[in-house]
Assembly symmetry: none
Homo-oligomer: 203 residues x 4
């Protein structure tokens, strides 16, 4: 995306102001008009930019959206820090999931995030970028917290942390994307408890 072409020596004299305006406009528009009505033409108009300036630097609408998220995620204080680690894994996870739910329910992020997910699901290249730049770092944080718990003996020693992450966050995201049910704090708690204890009866 951001690095679509890497010229041998002369850096592409790219207008940073236009770039930011485009990404900001894209994010604002998708939350206002929704994914289906998001258009490159609209983004360009809102950003006060020529369409060609978008086509010059991004290969698709989804790529713009992706970079918009990237820009957001790179703002200071947006989550580069680690997850809470009070020693109480269950409480920490519940807190994080409740926060996630709040974000997913926030109308400012709901539509944009659905849009991003839609683009990813239909564009493997974008998905790879997503895995590398957005999901990857976040997943590392999650796994970091779990590893800490594992070291403390609170998680099974042979646990596959990737599966563990999926088990905790997967149900949530799936319910959100498929609108299978409401995302409530209670649901978050329930998922955490069940995931930690497993479906089988504990002796």
């Amino acid at each position: 995306m951001t690095t679509q072409r890497k010229p041998p020596s002369p850096a592409p004299r790219r207008n940073e102001a236009s770039r930011r305006a485009i990404l900001t406009a894209a994010f604002a528009l998708v939350q206002e008009v929704g994914y289906a009505k998001l258009s490159i033409e609209g983004i360009a108009a809102r950003a006060g930019v020529g369409k060609q300036t978008i086509y010059r630097w991004w290969p698709s609408k989804g790529a713009v959206l992706f970079d918009a998220f990237l820009m957001l995620s790179e703002q200071p204080g947006s989550g580069d820090s680690a997850l809470p680690d009070t020693g109480d894994l269950e409480a920490d996870l519940k807190a994080v999931l409740r926060a996630t739910i709040e974000e997913l329910n926030d109308p400012r992020y709901d539509e944009p995030m659905r849009a991003l997910n839609t683009e990813i699901t239909h564009d493997p290249a974008l998905a790879a970028l997503y895995a590398e730049r957005l999901d990857g770092p976040m997943r590392e944080l999650k796994k970091g917290r779990l590893r800490s718990a594992q070291r403390a003996g609170q998680l099974a020693g042979d646990l596959d942390l990737d599966v563990a992450v999926d088990l905790i966050w997967g149900p949530l995201l799936n319910r959100w994307l498929q609108r299978t049910g409401a995302l409530t704090p209670g649901y978050a708690d329930s998922v955490v408890e069940t995931a930690l204890n497993g479906l089988r009866p504990r002796p």
Copy 2:
């Protein structure tokens, strides 16, 4: 969908052949050209049908797609039957998940299902219909199998079966939709085992 208008008394004289042609064409097209390039004009052309015939009976492209899936699901032997119940819950779940994975990896179903999910995530009305007609029945089957295991003491007595279903199928679907990783039989097994035993160490 199918029942968009309720005629006073005379049943709407609807051409069943056209209806089937439209749904078949929609399903075929979405798997051929992908979600982004699926168009009502294209469906109409492929089905040998006037555009108006589509607009007359369906409110949106997503609704057509939904009905296409509905038609498929109502064909005999497409899953109305119960899930396998050999008494060995873990084995049964692994088998079902492996089958699911195979379907998701099948190029004939991959694109159409992603398309359906996209429509659902952006259209609450469609999502409600989905919950009622497609996901609901399937979820009942899943819960049925789990209930049977619960009765046999293989699952915790106070287990929320909806959460349980999410815990088992959510990770899979989420990985598929977000393309976070490959869907392999090993992954299916891993998810089932981890869900059943939980993340915590068993004594």
Copy 3:
């Protein structure tokens, strides 16, 4: 143009109102903004019509312009009648040429006619149509008047009437198109006299 496609049986159900609006708009616009800034987009907007409606029925901007002239020329009293024939050839020709000059100098027709000539000079297909539908009939009228004079012994018996027409009207049109000089009534008279008498001294 007007007859771009001739379907076997079902006449193309074409919107006559749109057609007239397009032609009227095209003619009005070319005289307002000039040939260089005449755009299909502009015509469509002015006519209150979708662009596709223009592209559906005309292959080029020039074709629209041509049909606009055709429409004008087919209005009653626009010249289907014969040229004046008072018996005095010289006077009649001078009158006609003076009228022509007045039209060419009329700002309402100047730009549109230059535009039409430009299209014709760069598009042989359009030129053929022009020869058949616009120039041809007019040329017949001119030749008719000359033939009448020829019969009266006022013109050489072996005169090639096509060359004669060119000799009378060619200088005028050429001076107008190339802007080689002003088009004045005196110039018209001069051309007529010189053409009739020839360059050589009369005995």
Copy 4:
């Protein structure tokens, strides 16, 4: 054109090689792609020149084209010499007109000349320049030949030589521009004869 800005004292340090490359490219391109598709970008690319270099020195596409013709006309042996004067006016004129026809029919000059005419017809400023630098000198040559004939008593004494020139060359150019008919040697002869003798019967 060439002298768009008048520098206070130091002559504009203008790259002559670029200038020639631009004019050559313009002429070559217009004959290859035609007037409609001739673009400044294309000329710059073909000439290996920055766009700004064109905009700095020429106000319009037509001006470039005009200068391209000017460059051609200033090459040695391109017609600064007088018209043939064998004493036989009719033969001389026929020879000249036949040569003109050959040039107009030459695909290397057809498109460029049509393009130049188009620019002139839509741009009075360019037309004035044309009258002064290209058409003017040529017209003087023509009038020179006619004056010589007039002195010899072969042309009417009171003949307006400008009208005479128009009468001889106008029909030809008009037929060419409007594509009213083919330009053949026979047509050239016919025009010359008719112009010399006039339309009226000679006693």
